[in-house]
Symmetry: C2
Subunit: 211 residues, 2 copies
Amino acid sequence: MKLYDSTMAPNPRRVRVFMAEKGVDCENIQVDIIKGENLDESFLSINPRGLLPTLVLDDGTVIDETVAICRYIEETHPEPPLLGSDAISKAHIEARQRHMEFDGLLAAADAFRNSFPGFSSRGLAGNAGSVDAIPALAERGKNAMLRFYESLDTALNGSAFIAGETFSIADITALCTIDFAAGAARVPIPDHCSNVQRWHAEVSARPSAEA
Amino acid sequence: MKLYDSTMAPNPRRVRVFMAEKGVDCENIQVDIIKGENLDESFLSINPRGLLPTLVLDDGTVIDETVAICRYIEETHPEPPLLGSDAISKAHIEARQRHMEFDGLLAAADAFRNSFPGFSSRGLAGNAGSVDAIPALAERGKNAMLRFYESLDTALNGSAFIAGETFSIADITALCTIDFAAGAARVPIPDHCSNVQRWHAEVSARPSAEA
């Protein structure tokens, strides 16, 4: 398998951490998003949407979406389960993972993409053509990210992980979201969100967080 | 089971169509989003994020997210499979379903929510507080939806359904996205997108589309 990857972006890291938790190895090919290598013909011929991560299997099958790649890895390497183990836990983990995406990752992406000077005409990710950044959307994203921290702090009160007592894909999405928000988007965890701080220190200490 | 539902919104319809394809019945409780009933204390006590659909199982378990509800239904009512049947088809369907969400549904939602007068201070869905609509985001969403139609038209050339030869959750997401875009967001399928027109007529003729 080959993973088309970018170490600066949050979505590819979600896959790297997921694979590290499973002990799955994979050839790694870096694609520089800032330079726009994801929009070069050579990459668009693999993934026409121009987005990372993209996994190419040994038989040439392309899986071009973050959670779909994780789903494939979960199906082919079931242990440890990161997407749940019965109907209720699968549903609960999926819900929490999607809360992390829609409330957190989209907010952080709005904050970053609409304020980063290099993306002033790349307001949407991937092969969307010239799209102006919207400064008001950067501000909205920053405020939404701050609300996300508050909500997550409440949810983590008395809970070891994002979806309960077991580490799951929801923790991976949240970790990659928060590290991206704190770095690229400049919205770090507020000091008073002590449950988020505690959880973040714990998941960051797992070997997979290095991925 | 009880489904907290709104017939005017695309996400609850995704669950209704999914259940109809499976032949699953469920008590239905309407929540009026325009009137803000989703932000009433009585509903927030069930789903603090204030979003629909929300499923409550007979034992009181709450599943508060569209695809998580579909996952639960798929696990408890496996036939016909709508989320795939092996590692590759599960990954492919998940990828296509998420393309429909991120490229289509989010675009249509941006176009609607940032131009509908009743949501001028409800720029984000659910319990996000007062968030100003961003007119430039409505325009960006409309343009993104038009690009989505073009891309979908290419993908449907020679393909019966969104993820290949089998009807799946990806078709349900696309159907609900497009009907919402054409109605509430006023971005109908362009006449020249004949593959999308053909596919839309076919999936709209399925009994589940009435749900």
